[in-house]
Amino acid sequence: MKAHLHHFDITREESMLLPVEFHRKTRLQHVDKAFKAEITRIVPLTDMERLYQLRILDPGERERFTFFPGQFVMVDVPGFGEVPISISSSPSSKGLVELCIRKAGLVTGVLHKAGQGARVGLRGPFGTFFPMEQMKGKNVLLIAGGLGIAPLRAPLYSIIENRPDYNTVHLLYGARDQSQMLFGYQYEQWRRVGDVKLHLIVETPDPCWTGEVGRITALLEKIRIDPDETYAIVCGPPVMFKFVCNRLSELGLPMHRMFVSLERRMHCGMGKCCRCNIGSTYTCLDGPVFDYWTVMNLKEAI
């Protein structure tokens, strides 16, 4: 009778023999496969945050690894665990991925001990992204609070590299104090080369700070916003983007043209483990990038 029970060997399925590509979402493939990547450089930013440059080792995998600004990867530290981290680099730099990681617990703590040359796994990219195409020809407001600058760098690079496609670009960045301002060494370049109007604000100034003081929303009052011609990308903690988006809404910007990135606990990145679920929405599949109208409609979102 057993003869009728043909054994199904999943490893011999045609699509399982093809290289893994996480962009092909409905394809049956080895979804637990991690691309091996080497830490090629570590840039300390603050006591808690570091920028990691990673290079995918396999040339084929490196070639196939493409992403859109706003997407994230699952960083696999074998033996310790996997954590979701937004990609913080330019989508055009093939196979070179930059991640800005805050030491927050077990896995990120181990990463902070890792040195140059260490090898981690990457799965992804996962999730939705900022609609860079749709924003072409318009003004763009990039607004970041704290570590929110990390996911914001990907759309920022994308804009700078295609600068003529976009109209006026403002970058508003707020941090607790000056020591918490990340990527200070790049501001001049963003300003002068990128033609990005940069506005900084801190909540508690130290004696040498000469810039603006207050909440990030205060910066919105300093610039002229044309609600009909503007898109906004807002990254930061929920309280921050809530205040910012509500203020933008008052200024006439439609909620479906404001984009935020949500953070939830994630254990798979693939709409399976349910840990990132908000009612019926998987943050890993339907997000992390959402327009603000959608966020308003999610129960428990903020």
């Binding site: 009778m1 060997d9 999943i10 049956l28 496969k33 091996k36 399976k272 428990e300």
Partner: protein, 347 residues
Amino acid sequence: MLFRVITKEAFRKFVNTLLSEIEIIAPRKVATDYTGRSIYHYLPVDRFEDVALDYDTTRFSAKTYFTPFKENLASYSFQNGDWTQSIRYRGVTRLILGLHACDINALLKLDKVMARGPFPSPHYIARRKNTLIIGIDHDPCAGGFCRSLGTDTVTHGFDLFLTDLGDRYFVAIDSDRGFSMLQEVENTEVTEDDRVEYSAVRRRIAKGFTTHVETHNLPNILDIEFESPVWAKWGAKCLSCGTCAMVCPTCYCYGVSQEFSMDFASARKNKQLYSCNLYDFARVAGDHNFRARTSTRLKYRYYHQHRGFVETYNEPMCVGCNRCGNACLAGISPPEVIADLHMEEKA
């Protein structure tokens, strides 16, 4: 679909032949509880006599054979400061005998999440495709409300499905492997008498339900009553133990963790079934918890079962087996919670 009739004696032979060839999982009586009620579990069987085809319900669902409580997703071996990842899928052929309609419907729902849509899970598919399913009709179990959710009958998702006609089974055949296997034992064409008897049995079963859950407009009511005191009331009873999700045939959420071997030469990435009722389900670094209160977690489980899943798949996730209600030490059961919500809506 094709239908056949097989005598119980021929069916016993059929199972015995298979027993010598593959692993068979079936309901087995393991104990009697303090009320005198038999306790059944889906367990491996060695003899046909161990199979309790007349069981009412099992305390645990059969999901563990498709999405195990603990499953290895990948392994790593370490050499010379580097690591190598390896992934293995389990594909042992086995038969699950005696699944009820609700549990087969539950598998169909799991299929939607695990086998289709974005990122099909090879681990799940390997197990599902190598598992043969023979289901069986039964008289309603106490407290079961599958009829309210339309999961008391099943039209696909199995190989063979039996309805007891006394001395023989009326068999629905839903796969070619089921058909070919059935050909190996004596079976007959369905006669007019068989058909009449089958219909009578189905009518008897349909009339036997005593628990009813009002599902009309439930997805909307859950949204409207999001801040309802009903949740505080039931939340105050809930122990956040997660038992409900463990016994549920459709709850699929999990956690992933890694562990080193004792000699640090290798590591494993494991998946372990979880529950949204557990405290740290939605806790993130910095000790921020999106659902820190028991009541919000309990609410979330109902919200996902009866609204969230509907939004995505146009059907609720719950199949009405009431295993969660039976298992809950705090006496929380879907029929009562949902009835309360409807009361609230009317008030």
